[in-house]
Structures are given as C-alpha cells and as structure tokens.
C-alpha cells in the first residue's frame, strides 16, 4: 500500500543509529535531508544523504539493499519502530518519502535481535535464517525438468495457501517486529509452504523438528501470539501459518517418539 503520488518537496531530520562495528558502542546521530523529491524511495533518500556525507568526507551510512523492488529480502531498517516503515505489505525499498511529512523526525534503526548480530550501522547478519533453511527448508528430490503438470494433483486451496507462504522473502522483519525476537513467522512460512504440497510430505516430520530445533539453537525468542510479525511482514504472511506450525510440531514430535526404526539403521532387536 504505497502512499499516493505527490509533487511538493519535503525536508526531514533523520535520527540514524551509527555503530562502526559489532563490538563498538552505537548511538543515534541526526542528519538533515533537505528538499527531497517526495516520490523518491526511502533508500534513494539514504543514497542522497550518503552522497552529501561522502562529499563532506564523513563515513556514509551503511544499509543493506539489493533488488530495490521488494523481492529479494535484503533491505531492512526499522523506521520509527516499525520494520520496513509505515506502509502495510511493502519492504523498505518500496517505501516512498511521500509517506512522511515535511519537518518529520524519522528514527532509523537496525533490526534488533540477538540472533541477527550487527555488522555496521544499519546492517545486520541474518545467517541464522540460512542455518534454519539448511536444517530442513528444502526437499531432497531430483530437480530435473518440470514433470507433467497433471501428474501430481494438488487441491486448489492447498496450492493457493502454499503460494501465500512461498511469498516469504526471508527478510527478518517478523523477528525485528516481534516483542520476543521470535522467528516463528519465517519458520512457519517455510514449513507451511512445503508441508502443504505433495512433494513436501516425505520429509514433513523431519523438516519441522529440525527447523524448530535450529531456530531455538540460534537464540530466537518464543512466540507469545501477539501478531506483530504478520503486521510488519512485507508479504503479509498470515500468522495462521504459526498455528499450523504448532500443530505440525506437536504431531511430528508424537509420531517420531513412537515410530520404529528400520533394522538397517540400527533399530529392530528386542
């Protein structure tokens, strides 16, 4: 939901978190950004401010970005306390200066979570998400050419919900917005996406147990069902997937506790 187009130029004060390295002390510093085209994106505005800083011989503000069209999940930033800024269902790169008013003070901070250690200024390390994905966010199937489309029937409702979950771009805004820095929305989207499709069934139990286990090990917090995550998510992933994850985890734990092991893998006997 992008704010309507505007032509009046605006000036704002940026209150930016500056921290030169992971071990250094950080602090807020004010920068004035004057006569901005309201239709420039938030990241373009930071580019302009950085040009001025560079020209003055100061260290530019470090921030993460890549596609700048809301599909890669690289941009971050917490803008006035909300990850990805004031809009609903958009990433920071899709936030435009017309969402702000002339004279506003805009507080810009990194995503704050112990599992996302800070690298510099506004850039954090989201490797912990990669580790969760490596634990089970995949299917071990031959990835050859596309099979015959009608060979594997998928009910429309399941396909639609799987696609809703598959929209997750792994940005980490859910963690940043959560009161407990929990990664449940991200994990639930990945588990839900594969678990709703036939291709994901074979490894369904192993996947949910491994991904939740890694999520816990990486030091994310615990969900308190307050739904700040889905409200901040640039892809509006629903917290209904969290309920589904809880259910999946419970049944997978029960099944895996009682399922016998094959003799060839060390089971059998007695």
């Amino acid at each position: 939901m992008v704010a309507a187009s505007s032509t009046k130029s605006i000036s704002v004060t940026l209150r930016v978190w500056r921290q030169s390295g992971p071990k250094e002390l950080g602090q807020f510093k004010d920068y004035s950004a004057k006569d901005l085209n309201p239709n420039m994106s938030f990241l373009e505005m930071l580019d302009v401010v950085n040009d001025e800083l560079t020209a003055r011989g100061e260290e530019p503000i470090a921030f993460a970005h890549d596609c700048r069209e809301g599909i890669c999940g690289t941009c971050s930033l917490t803008i006035n306390g909300k990850p990805h800024g004031p809009g609903k269902g958009i990433a920071t790169c899709q936030t435009y200066m017309r969402s702000f008013h002339d004279g506003d003070i805009i507080v810009v901070e990194p995503f704050r979570a112990a599992a996302f250690p800070l690298i510099k200024d506004l850039v954090v390390d989201r490797t912990s998400f990669d580790k969760i994905m490596q634990a089970g966010g995949f299917i071990t199937a031959r990835a050859g050419s596309a099979p015959e489309a009608n060979g594997l029937p998928v009910p429309k409702g399941d396909a639609d919900r799987a696609m809703d979950a598959a929209q997750c771009i792994g940005c980490g805004a859910c963690v940043a917005a959560c009161k407990n820095a929990s990664a449940m929305l991200f994990v639930s989207a990945k588990v839900g996406h594969l678990g709703l499709l036939p291709q994901g069934q074979a490894e369904r139990d192993r996947r949910v147990l491994a991904m939740v286990n890694t999520m816990d090990e990486e030091g994310f917090g615990n969900c308190t069902n307050q739904y700040e995550c889905s409200a901040a998510c640039p892809k509006t992933i629903s917290h209904d997937f969290i309920a589904r994850l809880n259910r999946d985890y419970l049944s997978a734990s029960l099944r895996s506790a009682f399922r016998p092991e094959a003799a060839s893998t060390g089971g059998g006997g007695a």
């Binding site: 209150r15 978190w17 950080g26 807020f28 917490t78 006035n80 306390g81 909300k82 507080v107 901070e109 704050r112 979570a113 112990a114 599992a115 250690p117 917005a177 009161k179 407990n180 820095a181 929990s182 147990l209 939740v212 286990n213 999520m215 816990d216 030091g219 994310f220 917090g221 615990n222 969900c223 308190t224 069902n225 307050q226 739904y227 700040e228 409200a231 901040a232 629903s238 917290h239 209904d240 969290i242 309920a243 589904r244 994850l245 809880n246 259910r247 999946d248 985890y249 419970l250 734990s253 029960l254 506790a257």
Partner: protein, 256 residues
C-alpha cells in the same frame, strides 16, 4: 530429541505446556466460581458443598496436587520463556512501537505474577487460615445443616450434620473493604489474563485460523466479562451489605 525433551526444552513444546496447564487452570477457575456463587442461596448450600469437598478425602488431594503441578509448570514455563525472550532481543530499540499487540497480551507477565500473589493470599485466607484468622472457619461456631446437600440428586451430606461455617467466613472476610477491593482487582487482572490466554491457547494448540478467529475473540471477551462479573458479585454484595454472616442471622433464622 525425545518426547520429554520436545515438551520441556523446545520453544513450541514449552508453549504447549503453558496452554495445556492454562486449560486445566481455566477449568478450575470456572468450577470454583460456580461453586462459590452458591453463597447467594441458603447457607446450607455453600456449607454443604464445602463439607462435600472435604469428604472426598484422597480424591481432594489428587485434585489439589494436580492443580499445584499445573500452576508450577505454567509459571515455570512463563518465567523461562520470558527470560529467553528478553535475551533474544539483544539491544533494545530506541524508538518503541507496537503495531497491533493488545494491551492484555502485553500485560501477561504483570497480570500473571499479580494473580500469583493473590493466589497465595487467597490460600492463606480461606484454606490455611493464616490471614484474618479470627474469622477463619475453624474459629467460628460450626453450622448445622437444615437440609440434605445433594449432588446430581444424591444426598451427599445429610441434614443435621455439623459442618464448618464457610458462608460466614467468606462474608466476614469481605467485610474488610481492603480485602474485598484486593479480591476485585485480582479477579479483574485474571480476567484480563484470560482475555489473551484464551485466544493464545487456541493458537498455541494449532486450532485457531482466520475462519473463526473473530468469533473466538468475541467468545473470549464475553467469557472474561461474565467471569469478572461473577467474581465481582461476591465481595461486591458483601460491601453493599446484601449478604450478612450467620451470627447476624441467629436472632432471625433464615426461612427456606
């Protein structure tokens, strides 16, 4: 991880323990309120009911131990999860903002720990007699039932039995405005705790979805209001002078 590990060490497992113990405690507080509302009928009812519970003997202890375990697990999980959540944030935001989390959900720790403090006072007051001991049931004149106390139609305590006068103990206890107001505040906070708790437990157990979350919320609101009003009624009626203890009734015996 084995099953015990999944429940007691994983994030979701401990949440499930909280939800299940929460359901047990909700079941208890509903039953407890319904039992207590008998104070609005003849003293035979609540006094007979209290006698009936005590006659259960070992069964009463099974229920008590079950409830103690539920409370301990619930609070243990709440505390451990909260400490982990604080650590998981790392450094705090300079600009604090809430998008849609409800007040009830953000107050869970406060409401929870104050309810715990209340629970301890409540047990000291009406179960152990350590608080307000002058009006504790063991120190009051015993009561003689004027009619059989029946459960599901069966007489469980016979007319003429001498029993503890719980009716008078409760009313005398609430004649202290400080105690009555403390009870009212505590049950108000418990109602707020349950407003988020009911919503939350369905999500934790994986039973909530957008198909009926609006309906669930309404049911939770109605339940919590009803629960609060029911609990408010007892100390409220005593403060308003609508209920008076047995001793005041000796001169004018109650008619059935």
């Amino acid at each position: 991880m084995n099953l015990v590990g999944s429940f007691f060490r994983s994030s979701i497992g401990r949440k499930i323990l909280m939800a299940v113990t929460g359901v047990i405690l909700i079941g208890f507080v509903i039953g407890h309120l319904v039992g207590n509302l008998q104070i609005f009928s003849h003293p035979d009812h609540i006094n007979g009911y209290a006698q009936f519970l005590h006659q259960l003997g070992p069964l009463l202890w099974v229920a008590r131990i079950g409830l103690i375990v539920a409370v301990v697990v619930h609070i243990w999980a709440a505390t451990v999860l909260t400490l982990e959540n604080k650590a998981a944030r790392g450094s705090n935001y300079g600009f604090k903002h809430t998008i849609q989390a409800t007040l009830a959900s953000r107050a869970m720790r406060w409401t929870g720990y104050i309810v715990l403090a209340f629970l301890i006072y409540h047990l000291a007051h009406f179960t152990l007699g350590a608080a307000q001991s002058a009006t504790f049931k063991d120190n009051l004149k015993s009561y003689v039932l004027t009619a059989d106390y029946r459960v599901a139609g069966f007489p469980v305590v016979n007319a003429g039995t001498k029993v503890a006068d719980v009716y008078s103990m409760v009313i005398l206890g609430f004649q202290s405005p400080i105690v009555a107001v403390f009870y009212i505040i505590a049950v108000g906070l418990l109602s707020l705790h349950l407003l988020h708790g009911i919503d939350s437990l369905f999500q934790t157990l994986g039973l909530r979805s957008n198909k009926w979350s609006g309906c669930l919320r309404k049911v939770a609101i109605v339940f919590c209001l009803a629960y609060f009003v029911g609990n408010l009624a007892i100390p409220g009626a005593v403060l308003a002078g609508k209920l008076s203890p047995q001793s005041a009734k000796i001169s004018a015996p109650a008619q059935r």
